[in-house]
Symmetry: D3
Subunit: 225 residues, 6 copies
């Protein structure tokens, strides 16, 4: 994790793959890639019933310092998602409506921040989605350099610039850039299977029968009394 540098050329995944992952949602994407990639469960949305995906622009900054946010926005393309992790824990409000305005005009789809966010009502009005660890109005400074588009750890997961971020009401999941197409294919296959099961379950069939669980339950010794 190099220091104080801005990496300008980020390889991104094709937009339709990203959009396909958004449609699958966090739980399915997580399953499709072998149950990896979930950020810690303290990353919660400030809005409800919104699902997005985008290419990660990663931002590493000092605790209580949001200078690198401004630097990062210049590096954003339409379809990107900003991912911020402070180098030490901080609940400060690193991001508010002005930064959101600037990000949104460049086509940024949302923010993932292991820290605090503020102006949350306005952000919801703007339809700029955020997943954060904290909501807190505390103001930040602009004193210390950090880095943009270096690999970083956010909420327990390693994230590289250009990785796909999928976020919805269940939380946040990261998909490696080079695996995104494969994960989408597997996710779509899984979704098709689930749809079929959903119909059978909705018709009153039991999972016990659909998945043929009864023999194995009996073999393991489950007793009905």
């Amino acid at each position: 994790m190099s220091n104080n540098q801005v990496v300008q050329n980020v390889e991104r995944v094709e937009q339709d793959i990203v959009d396909g992952l958004a449609k699958l949602g966090v739980a399915t994407v997580h399953e499709a890639q072998g149950r990896r990639g979930l950020l810690a469960d303290y990353m919660r949305p400030i809005q409800q019933d919104v699902a997005v995906a985008g290419s990660a622009i990663t931002i590493s900054g000092a605790a209580g310092d949001n200078w690198m946010m401004h630097v990062a926005i210049e590096q954003c393309h339409p379809g990107d998602i900003m991912v911020f992790a402070p180098t030490s824990p901080s609940n400060f409000g690193f991001f508010g409506d002005l930064l959101a305005t600037s990000a949104q005009v460049r086509g940024v789809r949302g923010l993932i921040i292991e820290g605090g966010v503020r102006d949350t009502r306005i952000l919801r009005e703007m339809n700029f989605p955020v997943w954060s660890k904290h909501v807190f109005a505390q103001g930040t400074i602009k004193e210390t350099l950090g880095s943009v588009n270096v690999p970083l750890v956010c909420a327990d997961e390693l994230i590289h610039p250009g990785d796909v971020i999928v976020a919805d009401d269940d939380g946040v999941c990261v998909v490696r850039r080079e695996e995104a197409a494969d994960v989408l294919a597997k996710g779509n296959a899984r979704e098709a299977l689930e749809e079929e099961k959903r119909i059978r379950l909705a018709n009153g069939e039991l999972g016990l029968d659909i998945y043929n669980m009864r023999p194995r339950l009996a073999e393991k010794g489950l007793k009905y009394v």
Copy 2:
């Protein structure tokens, strides 16, 4: 707490008593039964402004293992509420839209889970209410037996199969099956009293006067300055 068994005959409370308790809500039911029965305050709803009550189908399973959920659904009757507690703490997503589909078709009214839940947006769309400790997409396995309809501890409270679960935006409360009719009667009486007070308070009378608090405050030594 016996292991690895499914108890099939659960005595339940009459449905109109259950429904009456739902209408009273958690705070009133808790008061009516002598301030007992509240589950820990980390049990939070994934939806807003929904109140339900139902007969408890209790499910004990291993951490990160949701196999017994499938077993439990077969035991559910219309009007039941599933109550799941893992034998060790776990934030995994034990329950999602497929299980909810299956539960809902059998008339299950909701889920209380001292663990994680996923597909929360879809669950809200389905009007399948959930109170959980965590929201997390992490997938579970189906390896270890557990039990259905044995007494268990969920979020600090002992719950027996057939006990009435009342849940709303304030949290979750359990009512012993054999006390449910009595609690409903007391709750309705309390509600009537409160309604009368609500009207007097809305008319500008003070609690200090309605409850005749002034003499006791003075006697204890409260000074107005």
Copy 3:
């Protein structure tokens, strides 16, 4: 912090200043007064997209005892906000719909409570906003005296009776009574500046240029690669 007394004459800030602060919101007010006054980030609203301000009626009571709430309501004027802090931590539900009815009829605009609240669905229906540390139905007693309108510590901040409380989705901020007019002026000035910047940012200008950050970034050694 004197004990067991009710201070009856509270100097308050003029209502239009209070209302002006409400319009600015927590983040701007916090900035305008030199980044002071934020209550701890565990103070969260039970409703969404509501912003209020009012004069603090402070209430100090024992853990699990809400007697002083009744005493305090008599001291409330239209435009006030009740601020409750127990003398020891407690998650009990100190406040519910009956107290809210009584407070609302006297013109109270909301409640800030470093404790628990209950009947949250009804409170939302009544449009009585609350910011609390906990949501919990546990009933309280009325046994121990406390004080009304003495300085107290609530969620890490010292609050005097008559101070202005500003609360919205970002949390809660306190403004000293004697500084309120000045903070409003500074906040309005700041808001005007921000509006100008918001327009420029919305037009695609970068913060890097608007704030002239590039030279200082270069001087500190930021490398673009």
Copy 4:
């Protein structure tokens, strides 16, 4: 869970069985009884390197009220352990050196408390061991009745009077009274097996070989690179 009563005749396990469980320790006892019975991991000792076991005297009291502690001590026999759980969460210091003096003279071996304890330095000097959720000096009152020797939930586990409590640096485990002899036998057998393995491991043999893990690892697909 009956209210406001003191059950005076508690059946206890023979002392040598209790002492045998103390020697096995929490981890082994937990394993020997099928991985059940562990209290939540927030129950931590105030002393280091102390292991005890005893028969549970259970105490249920109101939050911030330690009246029932005094009632309970009269019910204690030599070899007992007091187990206190408040009916609502409370970090108050329910127990200090005076109560410990009284308990110790009656032969009580320790305290398990889902709440706070104080005078911790003196308790260590007295060799009166405590496992608690909190350390806090806040004083309690004696206003509300509770119960002694009724089943209760403490730190996520159901505990009956007379159950055996085993506690050491790893935490606290409960053993059902009627299973204690069996658990001791299984624990001793386990301990013997472990001792044999400890010697082999200390001689440099690998668990991979002792437990014959290599074929199953290969079969599951573990790759060495």
Copy 5:
């Protein structure tokens, strides 16, 4: 709470009063002053079995910035205790062995810090006691002014410069400077009473009898079964 100033003349309590409070300890002092003054229970000692008291030198600084520590040490007299609270939450290591060396040579008796501390092993070797919210090695900066010897809120309590801080294994308690002599007298009286009771309890008398609790328990309805 004025900003960016160092108040140089702090009135202190006579040293023998301070020392008397240290001997009483946190629990007794807290009781003697009417159960007020306890800091939050997350303030924990880094050492065991140490009790101190001293006059508060209060220090308010920015999150992650320990500049004011250096300023404060110049203001310290023998017998003082440093009390640091950041203006926003921060777990950084604001204090280590160098600052402790400087403080100790000036006669400072310890540190109370609502933040992080580091070099904890060396601090224990130096016999420089610390009560902190966090232990964390993260380095701080020296960029932002704060204040020394202004009233501040630390761990939920308002502390004035010159107030007496009492700290031991149970936590931390603040005593108002002007009340210290009175609290000492009351504490000593309480201690004498407790000593008498300790002897009676050690002789096997029950609290039920010493405090004459039996009639009131019966009157409230406690049943022995």
Copy 6:
């Protein structure tokens, strides 16, 4: 992060460099490498006043499954430190005295685990140091493959096999393998400087003068009153 593989050839840092880093301790190493590398502050030692350093053997396993621990021990050399992170949060006791016996005989110097540990008293007796997130006796299974010696995220930090782990009472710090010699040199230089300052501070000089802080404080506007 590849799955289900054991990387056998780990490049390690020379032992005298590792030992030099151990002597510097966590705070100094963290400073010497530019304030990077600290694991989250919830990683706490089970013993007191122990400092170690070693080469990381990284272990990634499923929640509640310690199978890979056995696989990892075979890969350990004298001077190594085991670093375990579960792929999902888990407080289970992944490691106890048997594994410690096996690790110690191979020369392993300690364990860093973002999970639970048990048999803590015996581990202290064995002088096998552990830094963990939890202490909990809950037993684990051996069902799911994981990986050994792949890069992983542990307590917010990315750790590669062969990186140097430094751990003491302040927590845990990771040093990149390729930077270790440089960090040691910088740390030793820093230590020399600090020693000089420690002597001046011990002689009563103030940091204000040693670091020449007074002019900058005055310039920023600090007022003495």
